[in-house]
Amino acid sequence: MNLRDVIHGEVIDHELRLGIGEVAARAHVQDTFIIELVDYGVLEPFGGNRTEWQFSGTDLHRLRRIVRLMRELDVNVGGAAVILDLLEERQRMRNHLDLLEALLNK
C-alpha cells in the first residue's frame, strides 16, 4: 500500500446506527442470534419492532465480544452476558481508580 493513502474508518461509538442485518453481518452471525441477545437484554436497539431496530456502535462492540467469549471460552449466552457485564463494570472501576490514584499522587 502506498504510504500516502489515508484510510478513513468508521467510528464505532454510541452514535452509530445499524439495522439488524448490518449488525449481524459485521459480527458474522445470524439475525436469529441478534434477536436472542435482544431478548437477553445484552443488546438494546432503538425502535419498536424488529424491522425498525437500530443498533448502536456500543451494541456492535458488545456483540463482537460476546461472540468471542462464547466461541473461545465455551460458555452459553447467559454466561457470556454476565461476563460482559462484569468486564464492563471492572473497566469503569479501573478507570475511576486510575483517576483517584492520579489525584492522590499529585
Binding site: L3, G9, E10, I12, G57, D98, L99
Partner: protein
Amino acid sequence: MDFKDYYQIMGVARDANAEDIKRAYRKLARKFHPDVSKEANAEDKFKEVQEAYEVLKDPQKRAAYDQLGTRYHAGQDFRPPPDWGRDFEFSTHFSGAEDTGFSDFFSSLFGARSPFGRAGGPGMGPSPQGQDHSARIQVSLEDAYRGGVQTIELQSPEMTPNGTVMVKPRTLRVTLPAGVVEGQQIRLAGQGSPAMTGGKPGDLYLEISFRPHPLFKVEGRDVTLTLPVAPWEAALGATVNVPTLGGPVEMRVPAGAKSSQRLRLKGRGMPGSTPGDQYVVLKIVLPPGDSPQARALYEQMKRDLNFDPRADLGKSE
C-alpha cells in the same frame, strides 16, 4: 520454522486423555482470553493455546502430530517430513478461515494447503469471507482531541502463496476524527485478512487507548487536571490561567476555595456531539518558610489568626 511442543504449551503429559486436555484448555483459555486477561502478552498466549488445542483435541491430528514423536523439541528448526499426512483418514476438517492467526508450524502441518486442510467435503471449506482483525492502538490525548491523520504500525498475519502464515509489519495512515475516546473503535473496512476464495476481505477494528498524559486524566469525555494554587489565591479569590487540551483559558477561583475543591470548565473536555467538561481540582500549595521574610509572615499569622486546623477533630485533649 520452529517446532512447537503442543503438550508443553497446554501443560499436559503426552499420554493425557481427552478429558485432561479439555480441562487444561478451558483453564488456560480463561486465564489468557484477551477480553478477560490483563496479562501483557495474553493475546499471543491465547492464540498459542488455541492452536495447541486445535491439534490435541482432534484424534486424527493428534495421532499425526504424535507420529513426529519425540524427535523434536520446542524451538528446534523444523520442516514437515515428505510423507507427512500419508496413511491418515481425513474425516474431520478444520474450519479453515480460523487458522490464519496460527503459526507457520501449524499451517504447514494442518493448514489449508496441507493434507488435512484439503480434506472435507463441500461446504466444509474455509469461509469465503476473510477474517476480521482487532488491534489496540495508543494515541496521545492531544491527537485524540484534535483528530487528524495518524500513522500506525501493526503486526499483521498474512497468508503466503504456499498456504503458510507470516507475520509482517504493516504501516497504515488512518484518519482519526476529533474527540475519539478510550474504548471506542474504528472500523477499517477490508483491512482484515484477505478472503481465501474470491470473497470479501475481513475488516480491521482499531481499539483506541490513550497514552498516559503528565497533566490530564480522562474519564469518558471528561478531563481532570490538578491545579496548584497559593493560599491567598484560595482565600481571597483569583483569576488564574488553566491549561486545557484546547489551550489555556482563564478561570475564576472563588474566594474561600478549599483544597481538593473541584471546579468545572463546561465543554472544555473532549469534543463530541455532547462535549465533555474539564474538572479542575484545586491543590493549595504552601510557600516554603525558608527565608526570614517568609518566617516573619508565618509568625504573624500564628499570632494574629487564631486558626485551629484540627478544630473538627473533637475536644478530647
